[in-house]
Symmetry: C2
Subunit: 687 residues, 2 copies
Amino acid sequence: MSSKAVPDSHDYEPDESDVWRAHRARRARAERGAWWTVGRRVSLLRWLVTLGIGACTGLTAMLVTLSTGALTRLKFGAVRGVMEREGGPGVRALCAFCAFNVAYVAIANAMVVIEPLCAGSGIPDIKCFLNGINLLGVVKPKALVCKVVGIMFAVAGGLPAGKEGPMVHSGAVIAATISQGDACCSDSSSSQFQEFRNDREKRDFVASGAAAGVAAAFGAPIGGVLFSLEEGASFWSTRLTWRAFFCAMVTVFTLYVVKSSENLWGQQDLAKMFSFGEFGELTMGHGNYSVWELSLFVLLGCMGGLVELHCQLHAPLVLLGERDTPDRSNVLPHTEYNEVASLFFTDADTAIRQLFHFSSGALFLFWLPYTAMACITYGVAVPSGLFVPSLLSGAALGRLCGHLLHKLAGGNGALFADSGTYALIGAAAALGGMARMTISLTVILLEATGDMQYVLPLMLTLMAARWTGNVFNEGLYDIHIRLKRLPFLEDELPALAAKGEVTAGQIMTTTVKCLRPIERVGYVYDALRNTEHDCFPVVDTQTGNVLMGTVLRKCLCVLLQRRHFSPNRGYSRGERPVTFETLEKDYPRYPTIQEITIANDDRQSWLDLRPYISTAPYVIDESASMARTYRLFRTLGLRHLCVVDHRNRLVGIITRTDLSAVQLAHRLVCGGQSLADALLGVIWEAR
Amino acid sequence: MSSKAVPDSHDYEPDESDVWRAHRARRARAERGAWWTVGRRVSLLRWLVTLGIGACTGLTAMLVTLSTGALTRLKFGAVRGVMEREGGPGVRALCAFCAFNVAYVAIANAMVVIEPLCAGSGIPDIKCFLNGINLLGVVKPKALVCKVVGIMFAVAGGLPAGKEGPMVHSGAVIAATISQGDACCSDSSSSQFQEFRNDREKRDFVASGAAAGVAAAFGAPIGGVLFSLEEGASFWSTRLTWRAFFCAMVTVFTLYVVKSSENLWGQQDLAKMFSFGEFGELTMGHGNYSVWELSLFVLLGCMGGLVELHCQLHAPLVLLGERDTPDRSNVLPHTEYNEVASLFFTDADTAIRQLFHFSSGALFLFWLPYTAMACITYGVAVPSGLFVPSLLSGAALGRLCGHLLHKLAGGNGALFADSGTYALIGAAAALGGMARMTISLTVILLEATGDMQYVLPLMLTLMAARWTGNVFNEGLYDIHIRLKRLPFLEDELPALAAKGEVTAGQIMTTTVKCLRPIERVGYVYDALRNTEHDCFPVVDTQTGNVLMGTVLRKCLCVLLQRRHFSPNRGYSRGERPVTFETLEKDYPRYPTIQEITIANDDRQSWLDLRPYISTAPYVIDESASMARTYRLFRTLGLRHLCVVDHRNRLVGIITRTDLSAVQLAHRLVCGGQSLADALLGVIWEAR
């Protein structure tokens, strides 16, 4: 993937410089006694934006579903036309079918060529974003358009791809786009949305958007909130829970209203886009399963963990290899009433409903090729979710087991739960083995099933699948994050660093590019030019590098661009410092150092950084344990942390990259080994 | 309440002293290359303990339910006996009934006399505990026994008290007791559980226990995990989510197995202790309600918020007033077939099931006195939950509204959803107005209902109830926490301090009792004796109070008790420092300073604190904003934070108490006002 992480972008919170304080104080003075303060305005606006995000996500989901349906109908209509002209199935019909599929998939592939970030499900990217990594372009409108168009064609083209993962990504992009308002189109300094233009607000909106995406994809508003909660838990607050909750609710409500007014999908359940169909009819009395069957469910869970493991080993291999438009030669020939074919030649949503209630033994014929195809598809360069394919293959496997058990029991069919239940459990096992999500997955499945009696079996199965899988490797999303080499911080310290007594001083980078409070323009320019750091510590060299604070790249660039320096040391030009509004007006497209040129004469001028220094950066003592350092990083969502001695003298800096498992392994264990070896070591270690 | 908060107990994490580092390094050396390391042993043990907690919580829940049933049967059996002897209801039967109730309630009351902490629901206490406040005795076995016995008699005595809140408390105590192992009974230094003996592990287990408690009370394992997540979100990790999940699952499983093997409660749903009964029979087609009815649900939510407001204003008043055993004179006279009576004279669980499916207009007669009684009961000194009473009164109100609407609609009954749905919505409204919980409450109600179609109405109602309530005051649990004057940290900074530009330097305490790295024994003794602080900063007075680290009260007490000091300055006795094991062996009952006496001769001796200093305490610059300070406190679960200038010289200290809303208001706004005024101001402010 061509995604590129910003190595250490600015902090999650606004910095604490004099300029910022002056800005806040000025506003507080202006608002003294006022009822309609900026705080209240922003609070109201935040709810309105959340409402908008929810509604738009709902509408996008509708659009995707309807368009996919239309495209599929178009395809099958054309094929049927050919068949009618030929008087039955034949080579021509097959050719037409293949041609349609190839064309559709080619369009989906083209979208990825236009915007490489829209390949795959997008869930790993959103996970990273919520974790505090600014992936360039991952929440840009372009990614949304490509993703939506791509997934429509990929699903309509018959690929075993789900639209659920992409929906989550879409929700996130919608959130980022709406909340950043007119940043792209108009003069942003006068914008109503100015208060939302910082990383923290953006991330909060994206969390809500992701929740809305899950809600739209599965009709599972609570599951959506839990998904965001589980992935972005380190920055979570009750207030944000409410907003995500509200956002997901608006999405579901939008879907509900649109559907009930239009009655577009007559036969489907009202409140759900995604449904397993009705289980109620199948239940025999209260308990649809007996206590002892729970052990069978656990076994099925372990199986799911193992099967998915196989897929995962396969998927990354494909991912690492070449990425071409897939050859559609593995489409099976079919007759009109073949049960296997009726599973293959329909969209996945219908297949799921059929599968859970399907009473044929031909499942195996479906399961094996479908699973293989799903593995390949995920590695292929089209937008595609893994959720529905995992679910489908798991359900097929589960149903197979159910059938087998019923056969074993002979006439005594009541001994075992019905095969529909086994299909559900199988689906849970496969999903659990794939995503390794906890509570959010349980709730999503429960909400999709609509039947609370499955709480216990689902929980057991998911835990068994997770544990079995964890013996061998990590979840697929995590593997993808590792393959992209993003500095993702797990919520626990990698075991490698927790062992023994590693201190902050041992893992920090000691070659730090520091600035002085009043610094030569040339030196600043070179520092910006020659490094990629987004933050520079400011030290007082006269007192032995006592840390004065930090200053951000964006701020330095603005100062240089505005030529806010003077030939004399000490701030003699009598100019007032640049205001907060001026510094922030270009968010998020601050001037880059490449756009700025400095004349040779100016290089000897002095830049007074003091008003722009964030005077209270988070620091840690060099003797602090790794556990404490990691915790500070992870819970506060930091990007960098200054390491000081007990006199507050700067001795090093720790960035997110220093903490990523790969880097830790490299520094602590591998010494001179290659990164690939270290990677393997870490994956082995992380079990 | 007589509960007393430890003002600033030791940190959430183990400290980072040389002694601790030596301990860790020694263990790492001993285990080099070993497979069966302490880490693995502890990890396995942790899961086993979690299993035990889940099972015990489930069994306790069974015990409470069965005993309550037995006690109730005993009561009604006796009354029926009297009636049979008299040939019908009469004064004697009423007297017998009252006598039983008074006796039961007196026993419940006696439990509170024995252990004052077991009064009320215990949920505010558990919230505080998860928030990082060490309430003395709140998780001790004594509280468990009293609570369990008390709640059995309170419920059997006919008080409108729920056993759900107390179950949560019980789960938490069970967790604390099991995880701390044999701390109370045997020599703890050789214990298997030694690794769990710190505040962090204990808190994690308590979070799991609380989840198990909710799971047992409502048959809602997911709701339980979410409850813990919502209340203790600042210290949460994925791994802990799994453990809480597992714990809740074991509890539900225990209940399931016990019930299905014994078949004790024939007519009840298998997996549920708490149930609303079956809604399935009542539904007409798919959607049990129409879209436009959602607006009615929102209205009902607002109403719930207002009604509960009334109760809440009442409850604290009672709470602040006298606490006597309640007079049972408000028991209504009854005839055998009176519907109102059949609601009053039954246990709450049955009443709930009846209420949701009850087709009588006599609800109002039930609702008004029941609600009033519930308000009084919560203020009374017996163990009692508020959950079921709120739910019952809300359901009655909702059903009333439903009936009213059906009357208004005349013959066209299909215009509105059935009254059962309205009862559910009413219950949600009342609960939402009372507890102001978000997502956990929705999930608990959904799991109890067992029907996913109610997601949207429940969410809407809960949000409406919360918002309506928040206009006027806080949730009842929060009000209780405030009344107890505990330094509970909300997850957002109080609005008062967020306004304008308050810095850490402005709210810190500047009169800090500091120690030197090598300090006179007499000085240390006096410092311990004259303050209640649990942590003392150590500063280097020769360099102008540069902060060297912090040292804990428990450690100083152990050193003094073991007379680990020497007459000469500088550590000349050649003794090795006290080991980590020695320091920690008495957890959690470290020697107190009152147990220690120091001879006058020893007062001039020197205590070398250097090996015991935590050299990497969290610090913050005095210029840091309140927002940043609060965030550091809240997300890391700190108890105290040293404030330093940019040379790392100590200038003050901030404790949890300094940050509590009351204290902030006092310092920033009220100046010389009384605490009561400040309290009112804060409650007003916190709306």
